[in-house]
């Protein structure tokens, strides 16, 4: 860790930024530490770093810790009981996903905020392709899929009809997901040395 006065940092900012990639640089003013220069090697670190140093979040965490010490906190089952109660009390229109709107289908919705082109099954966190490809993989009829996945059979049939008309949207989503996973370094195929 390096320590340098603010005047020195100002004069050689680029060099200190480079040095901060190795270890934090403490900035001093009149001999007292006033700030720290921290290098970012991964963009995902920014969010964690900002959260870790957020005064608002620290205040919330300190308040929660104090509350836990004085009240003993909320047991896991009690927490979920309260979430259930709040959900049950909310009006139906607030229980839907934000941003979803109806297509010309009774059982399907689009959720543009999810970043996919294809429709979702209304009331479920499931895309048309997740249903239709699962049926294909397991040789399920509409009736079997409805029973297996606890869906109305009409919803399954509507998803199948949607896929017939919009299979290019569904396939584009799958291709995009594959590109994303590969770009992220996720292994999606068995390696050549697998048994």
């Amino acid at each position: 860790m390096r320590i340098a006065p603010v005047a020195e940092i100002k004069a050689q900012l680029s060099a200190f930024i480079k040095a901060s990639e190795e270890s934090p640089v403490v900035v001093t003013k009149n001999g007292r530490p006033v700030a720290v220069l921290i290098g970012i090697s991964d963009e995902d670190e920014i969010e964690r770093l900002l959260l870790a140093h957020s005064k608002k979040l620290r205040t919330l965490l300190e308040a929660a810790e104090t509350r836990m010490q004085t009240t003993g906190g909320v047991p896991h089952d009690e927490f979920w009981r309260r979430v259930d109660a709040e959900y049950d009390a909310a009006p139906d229109d607030q229980q839907d996903h934000p941003g979803e709107y109806d297509l010309h289908y009774q059982y399907l919705v689009t959720r543009p905020e999810k970043g996919r082109r294809q429709a979702y099954l209304k009331g479920r966190n499931m895309t048309v392709s997740q249903l239709v490809y699962t049926m294909r993989a397991n040789g399920l009829s509409a009736e079997e899929a409805a029973e297996d996945l606890n869906l109305p059979v009409e919803q399954v049939r509507e998803a199948q009809a949607y896929y017939q008309v919009h299979c290019e949207l569904v396939e584009a989503d799958a291709e995009e997901e594959k590109r994303y996973l590969i770009a992220q370094g996720v292994q999606v195929e068995p390696s050549p040395v697998s048994p």
Partner: protein, 102 residues
């Protein structure tokens, strides 16, 4: 999966409303319950894993457009067994089961 000896909980088993809830709710529930999460949504759970990599593990199945690459329920169970046989840790990791299909 139950027949293969796994202790399985579906979203509907856990909470009546969880089956329609968003990815984060499933992630938080599985994390709190200490359960490995199995999903067909590799993309969004990869993002959740990157943001919070401390959990009981995420197993994802990528659904390819090519029917020859489909993974049936049986293939998924076998891929989990194959992954387990490698000895790789499941917790705090995201695995795409397509890579363990053999």
């Amino acid at each position: 999966m139950s027949a293969a000896g796994h202790d399985v909980e579906t979203p509907g088993d856990a909470r009546s409303w969880l089956s329609g809830a968003d990815d984060r709710a499933h992630f938080m529930h599985a994390k709190a319950a200490g359960r490995t999460l199995l999903t067909l949504n590799a993309r969004d759970f990869k993002e959740l894993h990157d943001r919070d990599p401390v959990h009981a593990g995420i197993l994802a199945v990528y659904q390819d457009n090519d029917p020859a690459r489909d993974m049936s329920y049986r293939d998924i169970v076998q891929a989990i067994a194959n992954l387990e046989s490698t000895g790789m840790p499941i917790a705090d990791a995201l695995w795409v089961l397509n890579a363990y299909r053999w």
